[in-house]
């Protein structure tokens, strides 16, 4: 090894994980998987409807249990185009793809998801969108394929 020559070792980490949704989010994903339905949860103290749902209110730390059925329709809040390719483990599909924050009708919070059947030029905050569900749903957030404009 000559002076100034760097000795660099190629390495990697490859570790499997199994992350649990918990009781409340499991119920949400079962409903999505089995019935293609989206539900939010209401905090009675703050009068906010969280979507995605959560069992603990971040404002008052109270337990949330009041389910609210939500329609698959909502409003685009903002969006972006993802160009950078991070590799298969970290992205839902090969870039470029469109990501938006969608507030479902009746929810007080936004859901980040893919946008489809739409050109970037058509996107603008306020656009009305609807969820397109997968046929073979597996119980995760990609059971919604993407949100598309209501034509």
């Amino acid at each position: 090894m000559a002076s100034g020559e760097a000795f660099v070792v190629e390495g990697k980490l490859r570790v499997p994980y199994d992350n649990w949704y918990g009781t409340l989010a499991s119920a949400f994903f079962r409903e999505l998987r089995d019935h293609g339905k989206i539900r939010g949860i209401r905090c009675p103290a703050c009068e906010k409807v969280y979507m995605p749902p959560r069992s603990v209110c971040p404002r008052c730390l109270g337990t949330l249990s009041e389910w609210v059925d939500l329609p698959p329709t909502g409003t685009l809040q903002t969006f972006t185009v993802v160009h950078y390719d991070y590799g298969q483990y970290y992205q839902p599909m090969k870039p470029p793809y469109l990501l938006g924050i969608i507030r479902l009708d009746g929810a007080d919070t936004g859901l980040c998801h893919l946008l489809g059947e739409v050109e970037q030029q058509e996107l603008a905050p306020g656009l009305r969108v609807e969820a397109r569900f997968r046929e073979d749903r597996k119980g995760n957030i990609l059971d919604i394929v993407y949100f598309r404009p209501i034509r």
Binding site: V9, W20, Y21, G22, R54, S55, V56, C60, L61
Partner: protein, 386 residues
Amino acid sequence: MAIRPAIVGVGQTYHRSKRPDVNIGELCTEAVRAALEDAKLPPEKIGAFVVGNMELFEGRYMQDMWQADFVGAVGKPLIRVTTGGTTGGTLASVAFEHVASGMFDLVMAVGFEKQSEGDTRAGLKTVADPLWNRWQTTGAIGYFARVATFYIKETGAPEDAGSRVRLRLARHAARNPHAHLRMDLESVDQVMKFPYLIPPLRQSDMCPASEGACAIIVASEETARKLPRKPVWVDDWTSVHKEMVYVRGGRHSTADLEMAADRLFRRNGIREPMKDISVAEIYAPATWAELEWLEAYGFCEKGDAWKLEEKGQFHFDGPFPVNPSGGVVCTNPIGATGLIRVAECALQLRGDAGEHQITRKPTRGFSTAWGGSGWTVAHLLSADGL
């Protein structure tokens, strides 16, 4: 120390190998609510948060960002501490420092681990240097098998010494509703039937992989005196890093434990540790380490711990109770484990430990955390009204 900190509330979840009923945030909420209830404080009173767990066990980074919502920290200062096995101990130290500095009046420390979500042994291997010795590490089991080997060799302890420790810890854990392994073990012979992991280390000598969380609330002296719980005073704390394992050629050393305890004892005028300290909750992930480390901390002479164990000295109702909670060998949610030591010490000093309350008059408590074969965190607590 500028401001004297006190522990004014503690809380923990129950601990199991798997908690699929909750996600990580929800697990933390359970401990946070328990601590708030114990301190009789509403969440908005807490001024700052210190949260932590061990890297790579769950495969999620920047856990602090996700946890803020679940511990009541939205809009407040929150920092994450992740110092491996010592995480829980460091969480307490940092919370103490937040208060001692005068910056915050009420601080919450929250530690957790959810080990079933990843592969703990694979995660632990990544602690080692990938260029030097990651290939040869066998995780905690390999390390503690060597501790057992050396302890037997150097002290002449019999092969069942570890099993005696486990028997004591099992009896303690059976009295602690929060403990993970509450096994009904009745004799040393019964413990000796557990299979070997790496001889002479048996399965019964080693801690479980637990899921759980712990939270403590630390207050300034002025605030602590106004709160309903009897305050537990934080007298001193320290941490010691020793030269890393590859320098020592893989030979284990207890220099960090010796230095940490020696520093605390000297600074606080403790000359006869077993007399001056009434309860120890030490972070020992294996039974043999408990024996070796009680000696390293200076509680007894080298080679004496196994003899004192045989005499029953370390039982919760004995003269020097060690790990009356059942210890790490019965419960190990890694990022919470060091914090549980502090919380359990505080409960003992308050007299609120319930069925595993020590019978000796609680005066001072000693709690530790240990990690990566390289370092120790230690705390010295005292009961109110001494």
